[in-house]
Amino acid sequence: MKCKNAETLISRDFDGLLAVEEKEALERHLKECSSCQERMEDYSFMIETLRDQDFPEVKAYFWERLQSRLKEQRIYDVWSLWKRWSLRAVPLSIVAVIILALGLVLFLPQPKEELSQTEALLLRNSLPYPETLTFLEEEGTENKGMQIIFTAMEEKQDTRRYIP
């Protein structure tokens, strides 16, 4: 048997996994091989020390401490959820405001512009300036000018309109 194989058998022997023939072969090898005897002693020290070790007591109030940590964790979870969503909410609200503003501008019904008196008359196919016809027809430039001045003054005083 080679020493490399013997080491595997030594290790497996501590787990009670060797067949009778394997165990006998290992024992024969150990009788002849001093380095494997040393190996066996090292394994024995290692495995027995690990198996026989003492453990300290679990610290007091394990469950009570765990309960309070679970509570803290729950509060932390709610807070971190809020933080995560609030951070996402900032850009989302900006986008929402922009979309809303665009919607208002584009889709709200615009107030109808009131027609001027002239436009209203034109719409009804009426002549918008019958009053001006008289002084437009006036041939004399001086008379035409005077009539325009008097009409403007009367409109300012808002007393009566010029009736030709």
Binding site: E7, T8, S11, R12, D15, L17, E38, R39, E41, D42, Y43, S44, F45, M46, I47, T49, L50, R51, Q53, F55, P56, V58, K59, F62, W63, R65, L66, Q67, R69, L70, Q73
Partner: protein
Amino acid sequence: MEESKLVQQSIHGDEEAFGALVKKYKTKVFNLAFGLTRDRETADDLAQEVFIKAYYALGKFKFKSGFGTWLYRIAVNHIKDHLRKTKKARHISFEDLHKESRLSEEEIHRRENAREKERRIKLLHQALQALPEKHQIILTLRDVQGHSYEEIASMLRLSPGTVDSRLHRARKMLRAKIAPFLSQEGVNHEM
């Protein structure tokens, strides 16, 4: 009460039922953490974190394995993460022990047996902690905690054949680390 009932009730938010499960498994989880860290405070902290993780993962438990196996799987993964994060520090402490071991060689005959035994055990544990996580974990599960190959296979999601080969590889590596110190000092296997 049956364990599966306690698990069912815990899934539905019954904190008392979860408390009963904690009471049942706290020592095993703590010992696993202590076996791998050799520090009571750290082991306590890790054990608490394991139960917190388990509490929040209860909804994912599908009763395909025993609750203990499932909990151990969480514990092993959590402790493995911790070991990975603290690997550098552990490596340094093993180096320190190496120096200490060489220094003490000169005074070895003046030391009392009990103190010597303590020191060798410490050396072994430091060597264990200096192994790669997967070897450290399998040695702890088998040699410290005494789990069967099948249990370990289920916890680590490995085949029993892989457990067997990894365990023997881990033992070989551990021996390679401590053998120089043991042969220097002469192991008293009667101790």
